[in-house]
């Protein structure tokens, strides 16, 4: 009886919601019909308060900041896409279906069949036109070039061939598993499909001022420091969005954002991990807090080429001195979860969970005595002092402080210099430090391992210096061969063995993952579940709606 009641309630809600959508649609149609004759209601615009003051780049292949990714997500599509709100599950987007490969002459040939009737937005210099294989090939070739893409390395060894108007072959010199290959075609980073005609007509500059894609919303105007306006793409291949448009309001201060939300001037804002703020906003009746993946991973990297961390005993002593619980408590518990391997197990394959880590004896549970013993054994019975650099961001500062407190227990004295976030990024890449606490997200295990632990990514000295702050090089072969392994199981085993080696050598100590936090008005319905998203925001799609009829001046 209870089950029936629950089912009935659930069905009632769904039916009610569908009825509501129908009513909204009818109202919308009626309004559209009457707009030419009578009072024209204001358009339904979703107002989104973001934590930055400007857009970094409208070119999706150069998007770095979360605001850039947010805009790219709404304007552009990939051949595939992460299911809205449910990454890393992948589904077809511009492609008709998930592609499969065949091995021809030792090379992997992936065949992509394009969806027909997909229309690009109209631009200032070109009208709307249908997406073809030429646009796809153009986009990937652009992504594969360092000059036009931040993700060029991702597409090394790949060639793109338009077979016909709707068919593209991607030829991979070194066969790659679907686990690693398919994300390259998604609506993330270099996978976005841009307009060949627009770029050829206007050059790079056109995308700096007016990005043109196939997504549910098209670019209308941008006022740096104020807002960015997007409008509904009426020819969107999944149907015209229910929203008339989306506005990004640039409000770096959380106070301004929550004030705007609570006053009704904003519909959705990027929240804060501050526990007090969370407690305050939670008490508000008309808003809803959403925390979801993917969560960026906070890891402590130890420089294996710098004394005293060139001694494994010192690194293990540091690991044994640290306790994850202290770090987790610096943030509201809704946002954080412990992480035990360099690749997080949430949302990605290839990580090691707590049980596996414990069974392998790599847990490094806090053991101050053992830590001291190791330090003593290593020749540091009284510990030593460390010079560290922290971002000014609250998350970094609080975690550096927590780390300092814990390491102090074994005699390690941390001196942390707080700098701007960008300075921190620059310092840690250009000035090797013995120990770095870093928060980042990578789309897959290979990216995590390659960028943090492959010797090519060693800062300053690596062939492609990136974020290998540990100067570690013992798992290069594992990472490389895993990258080329097309059997997903074996690939994961190699990733896992790489992480075991990393943890055994205690090159890095994963601490926790930090989820994203967004707050929305109860009137906002995203139109999809919200579990995790690679777009680093809740994702506004053609199904997203704001249900309240707002006709006041707050618009």
């Amino acid at each position: 009886m209870m089950v029936m009641t629950k089912a009935f309630r659930k069905n009632f809600r769904i039916v009610g919601f569908q009825f509501f959508l129908l009513v909204q649609f009818i109202c919308f149609a009626a309004n559209a019909f009457s707009s030419n004759t009578a009072h024209q209601p204001p358009p339904t615009i979703l107002r989104f308060g973001v934590h930055v003051s400007e857009i970094g780049s409208f070119d999706p292949h150069l998007a770095a900041g979360s605001q850039d990714r947010i805009v790219a997500d709404m304007i552009f599509n990939g051949l595939l896409r992460y299911e809205p709100g449910n990454a890393p599950n992948i589904e077809p987007d511009l492609a008709e279906r998930i592609p499969e490969f065949e091995l021809i002459g030792g090379k992997q040939v992936w065949t992509i069949k394009l969806r027909k009737g997909v229309m690009f937005h109209a631009g200032p210099e070109i009208p709307a036109y249908e997406l073809t294989s030429a646009d796809v090939v153009f986009s990937f070739r652009k992504s594969a070039k360092k000059q036009s893409s931040a993700y060029a390395g991702t597409y090394d060894g790949m060639r793109f061939v338009a077979m016909d108007r709707y068919t593209v072959h991607i030829i991979v010199d070194k066969p790659t598993s679907p686990t690693l290959f398919l994300p390259k075609l998604t609506n993330y980073a270099g996978g976005f499909i841009v307009s060949k005609r627009a770029l050829e007509a206007g050059g790079k500059k056109v995308y700096q001022a007016h990005p043109i894609g196939t997504g549910p919303f098209y670019f209308e105007r941008y006022a740096p420091g104020k807002k960015l306006s997007l409008r509904a793409h009426s020819l969107y291949f999944r149907g015209k969005p229910l929203l008339d448009g989306v506005e990004l309001h640039f409000l770096p201060d959380i106070k301004h954002r929550d004030t705007g939300l609570l006053s009704g001037k904003l519909d959705v804002i990027i929240g804060s991990g501050n526990k007090k703020w969370i407690e305050k906003i939670t008490k508000q009746p008309d808003v809803q807090i959403d925390t979801h993946g993917v969560g960026e991973v906070m890891t402590i990297y130890m420089n294996t080429r710098m004394k005293p961390f060139d001694d494994i005993r010192v690194r293990r002593a540091v690991a044994l001195a640290l306790h994850r619980k202290g770090f987790l408590e610096t943030l509201a518990k809704q946002f954080v979860a412990p992480v035990y391997s360099p690749v997080p197990t949430d949302f990605l394959p290839g990580g090691l969970n707590q049980g596996q880590i414990e069974s392998l004896g790599l847990m490094y549970s806090q053991n101050i005595a053992e830590a001291r013993r190791l330090l003593t054994e290593a020749g540091y019975p009284d510990g030593f002092a460390l010079q560290l650099v922290s971002s000014e961001k609250r998350l970094y500062r609080s975690c550096y402080e927590e780390m300092s407190r814990q390491l102090a227990k074994i005699g390690i004295d941390c001196h942390t210099q707080v700098v701007s976030h960008s300075t921190m990024h620059a310092r840690i890449r250009n000035d090797p430090l013995p120990l770095i606490l870093y928060v980042a997200w990578r789309p897959n295990a290979d990216r995590f391992l390659s960028r943090f632990f492959h010797s090519d990514a060693i800062i300053l000295s690596g062939e492609k210096p990136d974020t290998n702050f540990s100067h570690y090089s013992q798992v290069d072969r594992l990472i490389e061969e895993a990258r080329l392994e097309i059997d997903p199981k074996k690939q994961i085993q190699l990733w896992e063995q790489a992480q075991i080696r990393i943890l055994n050598d205690m090159v890095a100590l994963p601490i926790m993952s930090v989820k994203q936090c967004y707050v929305r008005s109860n009137e906002v319905h995203y139109g999809h579940p919200l579990i995790s998203t690679m777009a680093l925001y809740p994702q506004f799609t053609e199904k997203t709606i704001v249900v309240e009829d707002r006709t006041d001046s707050n618009r």
Binding site: Q356, S359, L360, G361, L362, Q474, V475, R477, L478, Q493, L494, E496, Q497, I500, R501, L503, N504
Partner: protein, 661 residues
């Protein structure tokens, strides 16, 4: 036991043994083959497992992880996962045991770490590939094991026996069913065949039994060409021979039996006939004795009656003449009537005597028996009695030729006796019926075969005992008081009926009544109607011949009254003489038949010698039969019974004379 069950009891166990052996052998070799098959694929799975662990171990060396315990452990875990994915049947699995006897890898994680070092099967493990049976909580498993040196692991590919031998085990019920079914089918077939093969034998035995029981018509219906067929043909041939012999024997016996039977029948018939003859002889003897006695009495009675009749004739004639002479004188009419009455009584007495003596039948005529019954009833004076008379006559009754007066006398006498037998009243019933007397009845009753009319007179009187019935026809036997009867009634009746060729039967039961059945011979010729009673006068000369002078005198007077001239002769001799002399004048001779000297017959012959055309009226007091009939047959013109009346005389004389004229 018969051959059929013997065959079944002998072969069915053998069939069962054969099927059981076949099933058992099949199961054994199936199991053995499955063992070999299982070892093969367990060995294959084990090789795959070794390849998996070798790959993991190689991976460790390839990446320099061979000394990192966590990496080794992870490789082992991954190997375990890979091993668990190797399919070893549905229930089989691959697991690993460390050298010290602890389970390192097992698909059931609860078993990981379990110490099996003390188990016998573990102790039997060798660092070589080998087969073993190891026990689990769910039963024994068939397994193949090998030792992986780098990790010091025994890798074991194991499969539960029930699965290894699943096919064989699943075969058991099928084989049982097939075996049972096969046995059943074979049993049925065997029974059928045995029945088919032993059927001729059974038939032989059965038919031989029948033949042995004497049914030689039995044949053995076996037509096959095998030994049974030959045996049956020989047997049938033998039986046919036997049957023929028996038939001949039976025919001889039958013939002999028939002869004996016929002889016996003849003998019996002869004995019967002899008995009958003896009885009849005895009866005849009695009858002869009775007849002699009766003849003697009848002769006496006849003589008396003859003489007495002549006397009465004299009286009757004279009285008739006197009455004729007296004309209408009434002075002596009463006396004359009295004389007539006496003469009549005397005449009745003589009639009885003559009837008894069978001499009383004078004149027969065709009569209706039913009329006789009516007349006889009318003669009985029933007014003074309480007797009721009933009749039941047959309508188409045959006619009889009788002396009506005599038969009426008989019926009257019997009815009178019946009335007297019922002094307190009763019933008398008379009936008539046509009967056919066959030879047997005719012989029994002493009469001739032919048609008879039976007149039955029954009363409900006192009846008679058997001894009395035998005597009732004896003369002078009477049950009446002396003054009431003469004892000649029934004797006379019997004589009269017998004299008519008939017979009287008497049936009587004491206190119930008596029935007299009178059988009268049927007359099958037409008879002329009696003439009227008017005197027939004539003329002519008549020679009256009688030895009794009174008769001569009366007769002469009567003839003269009738208009005739009369010569008289006292005897035969005189009559011949007289006729010879006057035959041309004499028209008619009235000739007495019984006369001393030349009797009536001789005289008749003489007269006929004289004149073959002479007319002769024979007169006699005896009946017509006997000598009278012989004379009549010799050409006599007529017969008249004495005593005769003037009326009768005139009719007889007139009739002869008229015929002649």
């Amino acid at each position: 036991l018969n051959t059929y069950p013997k065959i079944l009891l002998t072969i069915l166990p053998l069939v069962f043994l054969l099927i059981a052996t076949t099933v058992g052998t099949t199961y054994y070799f199936s199991r053995k083959a499955l063992t070999g098959l299982a070892e093969t694929w367990l060995d294959t799975r084990l090789s795959e497992a070794l390849k998996v662990v070798e790959e993991q171990n190689d991976m460790l060396y390839r990446y320099g992880l061979e000394k990192i315990q966590a990496s080794i452990r992870k490789a082992q875990i991954d190997a375990g996962i890979a091993l668990s994915e190797i399919e070893v049947g549905e229930r089989g699995f691959i697991f690993a045991i460390s050298e010290d006897g602890h389970i390192a890898i097992h698909p059931d994680t609860e078993n990981v770490g379990m110490d099996v070092s003390q188990t016998s099967w573990f102790k039997s493990l060798k660092p070589l590939r080998n087969r073993l049976i190891h026990s689990t909580p769910t039963g024994d498993n068939l397994a193949m094991a090998d030792f992986f040196q780098p990790w010091q692991w025994y890798i074991v590919a194991s499969d539960p026996k029930p699965e290894v031998y699943g096919v064989a085990n699943r075969m058991i019920p099928w084989m049982a069913v097939l075996g049972g079914g096969g046995f059943f089918v074979m049993a049925v077939v065997l029974m059928f065949l045995a029945r088919r093969f032993t059927e001729p034998l059974r038939l032989l035995a059965e038919k031989a039994q029948r033949i042995g029981d004497g049914h030689l018509e039995t044949r053995i219906p076996i037509t096959s060409r095998d030994e049974f067929g030959t045996l049956a043909r020989m047997f049938n041939r033998m039986v046919r021979q036997l049957q023929k012999s028996r038939q001949r024997l039976e025919e001889r016996v039958a013939e002999r039996t028939a002869e004996l039977f016929n002889a016996n029948t003849r003998l019996m018939k002869e004995i019967e006939e002899r008995k009958q003859i003896s009885k009849e002889n005895e009866k005849l003897q009695n009858q002869i004795l009775q007849a002699r006695k009766m003849k003697a009495v009848a002769t006496l009675a006849g003589g008396i009656a003859h003489d007495f009749n002549n006397l009465l004739m004299g009286i009757q004639g004279n009285v008739d003449v006197m009455a004729l002479d007296m004309g209408g004188n009434e002075n002596h009419k009463k006396q004359i009537e009295t004389i007539y009455g006496c003469v009549k009584s005397g005449s009745r007495l003589t009639q009885q005597l003559l009837g008894f003596a069978r001499l009383g039948k004078y004149e027969t005529e065709v009569s209706d028996p039913n009329r006789l019954i009516e007349d006889s009833v009318g003669l009985v004076d029933l007014e003074k009695t309480a007797v009721m008379v009933t009749t039941d006559v047959q309508k188409d009754i045959w006619q009889v030729k009788i002396d009506r007066e005599q038969i009426l006398q008989v019926l009257e006498g019997i009815v009178d006796n019946a009335v007297q037998a019922m002094p307190e009243g009763g019933k008398i019933h008379l009936e008539s019926a046509n009967v056919q007397m066959d030879d047997r009845l005719a012989a029994l009753r002493g009469v001739s075969t032919g048609k008879y009319v039976r007149v039955s007179i029954s009363d409900t009187g006192t009846g008679m005992e058997d001894g009395m019935i035998e005597q009732i026809f004896d003369p002078f036997f009477t049950t009446k008081q002396m003054q009431r009867g003469t004892g000649l009634g029934l004797a006379s009746a019997y004589g009269i009926v017998r004299n008519h060729g008939g017979h009287i039967d008497v049936k009587s039961t004491v206190n119930q009544g008596t029935t007299f059945d009178i059988y009268l011979r049927v007359h099958e010729e037409e008879e002329k109607v009696p003439s009227s009673k008017a005197y027939c006068k004539g003329d002519g000369v008549i020679l009256l011949v009688d030895d009794d002078p009174m008769i001569l005198e009366v007769g002469q007077a009567m003839l003269r009254k009738l208009g005739y001239s009369v010569f008289t002769a006292k005897g035969g001799k005189e009559a011949i003489s007289h006729y010879r002399d006057n035959h041309k004048r004499i028209s008619l001779v009235i000739l007495d038949m019984i006369m001393p000297g030349v009797g009536g017959g001789e005289a008749f012959d003489s007269i006929k010698t004289i004149n073959p055309h002479a007319l002769v009226l024979l007169a006699s007091g005896y009946s017509y039969e006997g000598e009278a009939a012989e004379i009549m047959n010799r050409g006599c013109s007529g017969f008249i019974q004495k005593p005769y009346s003037l009326q009768l005389l005139s009719e007889k004389v007139n009739a002869i004379m008229k015929n002649d004229g």
